[in-house]
Amino acid sequence: MDKAIPLENKTEFDESVPRVSSLKRFRRVLLSRKLVVFGLIIIVTSIIAAVFSPLLAPYDPYAFSLKDKFLSPSLSHPLGTDALGRDVLSRLIYGTRTSLIVGIGVVGIASLVGMSLGLVAAYFGGKVYTMIMRFIDTLMTLPMLMLALAIASLLGGGLRNVVVALSIAMIPAYARMMCGQALSVKENDYVRAAEAEGASNIRIMAQHIAPNCFPPLIVMMTMQLGHAILSEAALSFLGIGVAPPAAAWGAMVNDGYKYLHTTPYLSFFPGIAIMLLVFAFNMVGDGLRDALDPRLRGTL
């Protein structure tokens, strides 16, 4: 056996934990599920369709041609034509614009307003919290669709007003989520540390609380993009939304409903389009959740 002799210790610094690239991990987890990749493809395709509608659409989506009405799907009109002889495929492609504009607009406005309200309520607590939360509760007594319907009617239809109405209807979801997140993030010692350093309220909220609330909210925003598109479709199905000649998927389903007995595919295709895009956003949301925070895996 060797005799032990203590050696002088040489390490000046601790060795660090092996570095894992969070971006790499994010990409790997995100792309590891087929449905997420499928969703991403659908979303990218839709964005391309929306941006390049005039180039991609085979026909003018607004051009009537009464002699071509109710054509069955064929080579020249892959998805057929509607009651006014307009090409359904072209209208679907243009409809992507409506859906995406509404989705992005609504989620943008609702998340900005809702998250600010939630953050302020959680950070200051007390009376501020009570006031904001009762306001949110009040908005939440009506079904989202009914609230949006009422507001849109009040404002008088049109794409912009639909965006505003849906935004207001979606504010509560963000406010509540953000409030819950902020309340728990607020309890972390690093917020205490910032207070002890003498940081201002704004600095604490903007630098320390808000960024740490984001991961679940980003997931929620992605899923709400789908939800907003679905709600816009519902509103336009009820006849509230973009002005008639413009293409909206929900309105197309409704148009087709009138001719269900003869040409069921008029309703079928726009419905499938809605479902695909909403499904895509949900799947990507799911994937983002796994990729952003492994601890959240398997939860809602």
Binding site: E12, F13, D14, S16, V17, R19, V20, S22, N188, D189, Y190, R192, A193, A194, E195, A196, E197, G198, A199, R203, Q207, H208, P211, N212
Partner: protein, 330 residues
């Protein structure tokens, strides 16, 4: 030991921190949690005062009052000759630079979305301590080296560090504003045994290398507190029951609670353990919502007298440098 005025960095007089308990429909205050109930102590410049006790004894609350993270219910906190008890948020800023804090949990105490450099640099930015960017970067690198971290790791985020390294980042952050007092709130209890000694030694070395750096060291582990502190205050239910030199604490404990507490700590020495007397402590710590009358320790004290149930003993010096709050001790 007679300390002159300028030797005293912190003076806490009859500090009380009561948290209201709101109940019922109208959220009326029905009671209060007497987390800290009349605590007085002084910390000399350059010394380490240990604050020890079991959970709920008020040691953390005391620390947070000194940091002015809480507004004390009553009493007085004097820091470096200034009464800071009632300073407003804006007025307290300069004091925040002077007093910093090290936390227990190396995970929740660092913002996971900031890099180690941003975390450590934040106090410097808030208090505008550096003139330009290169000075800022140099100071940061210097701080990293001081706490034994490689400055090359400045741009890494907390989850890339181990628990011990994270605690080093926390210490660097506390040092960044060049404070004269650091409140260390259980700084090592979340760390592995083999890492604890690294942090204890680091804290001691920092004090040796920095004349006048003062610690208020809060912990529940008596061995650690005794090891690192010059003087130790033992707290029970919001009050200090005994305050003495660290050596005295183990060799000559006076308060029955201190004795029971010391005997409850197992020592990593089986031979010594066999010869030790264990003073059992019955029951649990009463709720600070409704503390016992008189001496709060009387329901669990084996030497309880009639007097103890009625009159709350005051903390008084029984020997030079040894203060005890017990009717038994003359």
């Amino acid at each position: 030991m007679n300390a002159t005025e300028s030797d005293i960095l912190v003076e806490v007089n009859d500090l009380k921190m009561h948290f209201p308990v709101l109940r019922g429909l109208l959220k009326r205050q029905v009671a209060s949690v007497q987390a800290v109930d009349g605590v007085s102590f002084k910390i000399r410049r350059g010394e380490t005062l240990g604050l020890v006790g079991e959970s709920g004894c008020g040691k953390t609350t005391t620390g947070r009052c000194v940091l002015r993270l809480y507004d004390p219910t009553s009493g007085q906190i004097v820091f470096d000759g200034h009464d800071i008890t009632h300073l407003k948020k804006q007025q307290i800023r300069p004091i925040r630079r002077e007093i910093s804090l090290i936390f227990q949990d190396p995970f929740s105490s660092l913002d996971p979305r900031q890099t180690a450099g941003q975390i450590v640099g934040e106090p410097m930015k808030i208090h505008k301590l550096t003139q330009n960017d290169s000075e800022y970067q140099d100071t940061l690198a210097e701080l990293f080296k001081t706490v034994g971290l490689d400055p090359a790791m400045l741009d890494r985020v907390p989850h890339e560090f181990s628990g011990g390294q994270r605690q080093r980042i926390g210490i660097a952050r506390a040092l960044a504003s060049q404070p004269s007092l650091i409140v260390c709130d259980e700084p090592i209890s979340a760390l592995d045994v083999s890492i604890q000694a690294q942090i204890i030694n680091l804290l001691q070395e920092l004090q040796e290398g920095n004349e006048g750096l003062t610690y208020l060291f809060i912990a529940h582990d008596l061995s650690v507190v005794r090891h690192i502190s010059d003087r130790v205050a033992v707290m029970y239910l919001g009050r200090i029951v005994e305050l003495t030199e660290a050596v005295n604490l183990f060799d000559n404990p006076k308060h029955p609670y201190t004795r029971a507490l010391l005997s409850a700590v197992p020592i990593a020495d089986p031979v010594f353990e066999e010869s030790r007397e264990w003073i059992p402590l019955e029951g649990e710590v009463p709720s600070p919502l409704n503390p016992p009358s008189g001496c709060t320790f009387h329901p669990r004290c084996q030497f309880v007298m009639e007097k103890c149930k009625k009159i709350s003993p005051v903390l008084k010096e029984t020997e030079p440098g040894h203060e005890v709050a017990c009717h038994l001790v003359k």
